[in-house]
């Protein structure tokens, strides 16, 4: 297994269970390959970031991204006119 194939499988194993042959081949490759091991660890971290993104974005820490006052007024008008 070369690094290109390993990288695809490192990603795929996050999405579905690999077959025995791929799983075994990937494990052998990772034992020998520092680069692909680092790649796997980075994808792990990206997953962690993604899982926490909603929580952070919805909190007040990101309050600079907001609906404009005009948009809010327009929303309120639409909501009350459809009562």
């Amino acid at each position: 297994m070369n690094c290109k194939e390993a990288a695809q499988l490192i990603s795929e194993q996050r999405d579905h269970k690999l077959g025995f042959k791929d799983r075994f081949g990937l494990r052998m490759h990772l034992v020998m390959c520092r680069m692909c091991t680092a790649y796997r660890d980075k994808l792990d971290m990206i997953s962690r970031f993604a899982k926490q993104a909603s929580e952070f974005m919805m909190g007040d820490g990101h309050s600079t991204v907001a609906l404009s006052a005009d948009t809010k007024e327009r929303m309120k008008r639409k909501l009350s006119s459809n009562d």
Binding site: K4, Q8, H16, M57
Partner: protein
């Protein structure tokens, strides 16, 4: 009592939940105008269906649940064209190719400087969301459904109308691009 008042006062929903819903949408949908429309539709559906709100969860959680459905509906109704480059496996470079063209950073270099409070670091999230926005639309959708919302692959294939093989390739490409973007703009940039 106060929760009952909040329950039937959509003006208050806009003030208290509008921004959070908007940011939730923007994490999944790049276009701010589309995100605004989705929030508007969410509040409108909530108003019409307020009798279904049982109060077992918070109003915020209930609204977010409606918004999630609106976003998936939007994905189903507006499907971007799948480009052949979306599925081109060979576009991910190997380390040898990177080094040959003079890329400075060896691929195996680990990510250091990951402070424990990274999750509270606004600058980091600005980079993260900018990197998300830099992905092609299909990559962005697949990645956010899979990694941000944790939806199973076969479900995502139905939403995006693609095969599972295509989905795995797209996710591989999306993760690789995000990794490179985070390195260029965060991990190697400081």
């Amino acid at each position: 009592m106060s929760s009952n008042i909040e329950k039937y006062d959509p003006n208050k929903w806009v003030d208290e939940h509008g921004d959070a819903l908007y940011r939730f949408a923007l994490l999944r949908v790049k276009d701010p105008g589309v995100a605004e429309d989705l929030v508007q539709e969410t509040l409108f559906s909530a108003l019409k269906g307020i009798d279904r709100f049982k109060g077992g969860s918070t109003l915020r959680t209930w609204l977010v649940g409606i918004l999630k459905h609106k976003i998936i509906d939007h994905f189903r109704r507006n499907r971007p064209e799948i480009l052949s480059s979306d599925l081109n496996l060979m576009e991910n470079e190997t380390e040898e190719e990177r080094l040959e063209r003079g890329a400075v950073r060896p691929e195996w270099k680990e990510w250091r400087d990951v402070p424990s409070n990274l999750m509270e670091n606004k600058e980091f999230w600005d980079v993260f969301t900018a990197c998300l926005d830099g992905l092609p639309e299909n990559h962005r959708r697949a990645f956010s459904l899979r990694e941000i919302d944790g939806i199973k692959g076969d479900e995502i294939c139905k939403i995006l109308d693609i095969t599972s093989t295509n989905l795995w390739v797209i996710l591989h490409r999306a993760r690789g691009k995000l990794k490179s973007c985070l390195e260029a703009n965060w991990f190697d940039a400081r």
